[in-house]
Amino acid sequence: MAFESFSAFLAMEGHGPYVWTCYAVFVVLLAGMVFWSAKRHQATYRMCKRSHDQQARKGQAKPKAAATFTRVEISQD
């Protein structure tokens, strides 16, 4: 340990505010980047999964709908 006590460690012989500001900003930004990236990945993955799940369900309900052309009768009245 380069310091005698915990308060000496915090004070850093008067340079504490400078050193701790730097470390705080560094940790906050880096952690922020990690969480933001992880969150965005999760959201993207869920979005993909949702749309493919929906398609899969649709496909099961009407197995031939995607493969054949069926005329849709629209009632005019």
Partner: protein, 247 residues
């Protein structure tokens, strides 16, 4: 060799590789970075001249290192984008640009806070500081350019050209302290020469540089995976992947 090169361009193949490496990158990065920072903050001896304010070096130098390395990697990927039109290269450039921007900002910010107690000023327009500020604008410009063009392919080419043009700034940053009179001192942490630093200060610095590199590797993999999912969401392999519930 070319076959390997083209395989490298396959997003599906990249997904598999990234998944295999990511846990190791994250764990290794966090352990090394934490070890380096705790050692540097609490156990490394103080400097004979600057006292304890020099402890900022343990985040300042790694951030500056990454800021420049990421740009060099982006420029290499830009060449691949322009010449081989490889999708993965463009995905890389787009995914890591914000990370590079963050590290450049961190290098400038920690440098300013360190400059106040040691030099007596937050900022001075010397060649090193100014060229680093230009790097910040280059990252910002690449991100803005990418967002302003809707077409994916045109955006990729425009960004690649911008990144490539900006690469001349990298040797200027590196050698500014040797070519011109600057307030900033020459490099302490060198890869090729003996470090101009006591061993018990250099080892924690090395640990945090390595840790940050690994952490960047993890971030790059994760962010590239996100971008690939966005671009390839309609392909068969992504469909199979998400339906099987694999990440």
């Amino acid at each position: 060799m070319w076959q390997f090169f083209h395989k490298l361009g396959s997003p599906k193949w990249f997904f598999g590789i990234a998944n295999r490496f990511m846990p190791w990158l994250l764990a290794g990065g966090l352990i090394l970075l934490a070890a380096g920072l705790v050692w540097g903050l609490a156990f490394a001896p103080k400097d004979y001249l600057q006292g304890n304010s020099y402890r900022i070096i343990f985040i300042h130098v790694p951030s500056a290192f990454l800021a420049q390395s990421i740009y060099i990697m982006m420029a290499s990927a830009a060449v691949v984008t322009l010449v081989w039109r490889m999708k993965l290269a463009d995905v890389f450039v787009k995914s890591v640009a914000p990370v590079g921007l963050m590290f450049t900002f961190l290098a400038l910010f920690t440098g300013a806070v360190w400059g106040k107690p040691t030099w007596g000023t937050w900022w001075v327009w010397d060649a090193r500081l100014t060229s680093m500020l230009i790097l910040l604008f280059l990252y910002g410009g690449a991100i803005a350019l990418d967002r302003s063009i809707n077409d994916e392919k045109s955006a990729a080419r425009a960004v690649a050209v911008l990144v490539l043009v900006g690469v001349v700034n990298i040797p200027i940053i590196k050698y500014s302290v040797d070519w011109w009179n600057t307030l900033h001192q020459p490099a302490t942490f060198k890869l090729t020469e003996k470090p101009s630093m006591a061993m018990e200060m250099w080892v924690p610095l090395l640990l945090s540089v390595l840790g940050l590199y690994l952490l960047f590797g993890w971030l790059a993999c994760l962010r590239m995976k996100t971008e690939i999912l966005v671009r390839e969401r309609r392909t068969r392999w992504v469909k199979e992947l998400v339906l099987a519930g694999r990440k």
